[in-house]
Symmetry: C2
Subunit: 419 residues, 2 copies
């Protein structure tokens, strides 16, 4: 006998949960389509070189690799057992997709991608090794219109899904770099400094300080840096303070952020917008604006993204700007399950036929079922099992409100439970 | 620079094709849900032992295997490099899913599964290594009601998708066995005999005869067998002829087939139903009725399935009957593309804003866009690019019927092309 369980870290999704997921997906697709995004699909499998090109940061360590097949495997050297791998996100595949198909795609290109991604993470509650991502991206739009469009589409879609009380955090990778450098870190250290800063919400500023010192950075530099970040956090007008500290070279990112703050506050959405100088976002490929949507009701982000203007250049040979936003689909679904919303399934009717029903009668039952379906209702024909009580309970649990029993001659009678 | 191409045998799907696929999937889900099928989802990855259990026939040779990770890989012996694999169909995963979750599922269980499957086939035109399957299955229904329900749901769904002129072929694995044995083949040879018979439509009866002789079967037995099959094909009432040849032991499968022939001919569907004594279906797990839907307009099957009463027993420890039907989604989509149907996308409107538009004006543009979307229309805001002619062409090609230009002050004007 085989094992009945899923592979470690994977899961079977039960019918009631699939219904909720499908409803959420339908809303996301309808809304993003309404904003002019074009759904595309790339394969789940990519050539392994694409996925190990150092763009994915920590995620690259978590790649599922696929063994070569047939002759390829026989001929291969020890260190080249695999030629393919499962994608760990949708951004790197999107870049390859755009490079491969740019001649057939409009400029700028507004893309929507919904699909499974795979990461061999250490299994933990609520985290799975296969999960769905929902991304929108605008390729070829260098102005802040791209950020504005992505933000309003995403917050609009989350609103349509029933969420409210959004807290939108914005930052810019260029500001993160300028601030660190102005305090004495060298350019090559910025990335490591940001990785530590990113942990501030978990380990606090003291933790960040300890980690930076542990990594060998100069104590005076570290303290000046944390003092500066702290000043920005507590300032009443942090972007003005930022401009004052950094000067003219920070003008472009600051003006973008100022515009986005104003733009989003005027979108008629229940959305608080802030510049957050500690927002980092993990992926290595971001180059400009970065953003994250949180809810006032939960302590984690439900969507995040940013600008990545260099990633496509590695595939196309010349730089093409791009900006993207990803909804945390699994988190959204879990929150919606807690909201206990009605999945809006149609009227459901079951025709429970006698186990010994004759052929001619069964044919008539199916004609009746077709008539019921023509009214837009669900109609399931099933044979009565010995444990009728169990069957009734299961049908009620699955939302069947109208139950009919059909006897051996095909006579149909509404079932009314004795009280 | 990385390769821009997909892995061999894979493909990028362009926006216009994704729209068609989504429309087809929506119809399939809505219809099957209407018949009472419950959508479920199992992971794309399974434990490798499950997929190499000899149930998948030829497909098992085509499995994509996933390399062990981390310590598991370091510790493993040479012949155990892989612990996981990508599913090659939806039936084997369904069996594991049912075994794993049967306590939470109703009896009988009507399942719908839609998802990607993977086969490392030799790349050829129109065949891909990642493709979508759409399956419905009924688990725990031993009577012919299961077959009847699956057939009417599938032909009903294909009708809703716009197809007509169905040709439904039925057979039964038990009859295939009884006929072969009655002609002198031993029981253990039946499978090989069927594999050859399955090729009759490609290599003809002469080709089947040559292959059987080549495989070492007795010439007299082979000739009697082909003579018998030929008699059935040319008979006016082949099921009666079959009963006459095989006697009482063939009564059960013959009665099932007779019922299904009558049932389907009375379903008010444009459907010709025949018993086809040469129908085999490739998978090794079928045990009873097998069926296939073809269209009068194309030479290949668009859906197929059958009864597999033993597969679940290997996972559950006791036999649980099951019957399933699979729509050839990729074939269906290609046929629908040829039918040139309207994808029914909503009115599409584009607001093309001046590249130097001011911030305040842009905020107003987004309010206008929100108003247009509130009317149920698609509205895409994009910045004007230098090559305006190209932009116009791309928008028209993407189905944007209403184009507006927005000047630097936010004034919006309907764009009318000069003739």
């Amino acid at each position: 006998m085989f094992s009945k369980a899923c592979p470690k870290g994977m899961r079977d999704i039960l019918p009631e949960d699939v219904l909720i997921r499908e409803r959420v997906l339908d809303t996301i697709k309808r809304m993003y389509r309404g904003y002019g995004y074009n759904q595309i699909e790339a394969p789940i499998i990519e050539n392994i070189e694409l996925l190990t090109g150092k763009e994915g940061g920590e995620n690259e360590k978590l790649i599922f690799k696929i063994l070569k097949r047939g002759e390829k495997l026989v001929d291969c050297k020890d260190n080249e057992l695999c030629d393919l791998a499962l994608r760990y996100d949708l951004t790197v595949p999107l870049s390859r997709y755009y490079a491969n198909n740019m001649a057939s795609l409009p400029t700028p290109f507004k893309a929507m991608q919904i699909g499974n991604v795979f990461r061999a993470e250490r299994p933990q509650k609520g985290r799975y090794r296969q999960f769905v991502q929902c991304d929108i991206d605008i390729i070829g739009e260098s102005s802040v219109l791209a950020e504005a469009d992505l933000l309003s589409a995403t917050v609009g879609t989350l609103t349509e899904l029933g969420f409210k009380g959004f807290r939108l955090k914005l930052n810019d990778r260029r500001l993160l770099g300028l601030i660190a450098e102005s305090c004495g870190f060298c350019e090559s250290a910025v990335n490591d400094v940001c990785i530590s800063l990113d942990k501030a919400d978990k380990i606090g500023f003291d933790g960040v300080r300890a980690e930076l010192l542990e990594n060998g950075f100069d104590c005076a530099v570290v303290d000046e840096y944390l003092c500066c970040v702290n000043m920005l956090i507590t300032s009443d007008s942090p972007l003005d303070a930022c401009l004052k500290t950094l000067g003219e070279r920070a003008l472009a990112p600051i003006n973008s952020l100022k515009f986005l703050l104003e733009f989003m506050s005027k979108q008629n959405l229940d959305c608080e917008v802030v510049y957050d100088p500690t927002l980092v976002r993990g992926m290595g490929y971001y180059t400009g604006t970065i953003f994250e949507v949180a809810l006032s009701s939960v302590p984690y982000a439900v969507a995040g993204g940013g600008r990545y203007d260099n990633l496509l250049g590695k595939l196309i040979g010349k730089d093409v700007c791009a900006c993207g936003f990803s909804i945390g689909f699994e988190r959204i679904v879990n929150l919606i399950k807690e909201m206990n919303v009605d999945c809006g399934d149609r009227d459901k009717c079951a025709l429970i036929v006698d186990a010994n029903i004759g052929n001619a009668a069964l044919i008539e039952v199916y004609k009746k079922a077709a008539d019921i379906r023509a009214e837009g209702k669900v109609c399931s024909v099933i044979k009565r099992i010995n444990n009728f009580g169990l069957m009734l309970n299961q049908l009620k649990q699955a939302g069947y409100g109208a139950l009919y029993t059909v006897n051996i001659d095909g006579e149909c009678k509404k079932f009314v439970e004795k009280s």
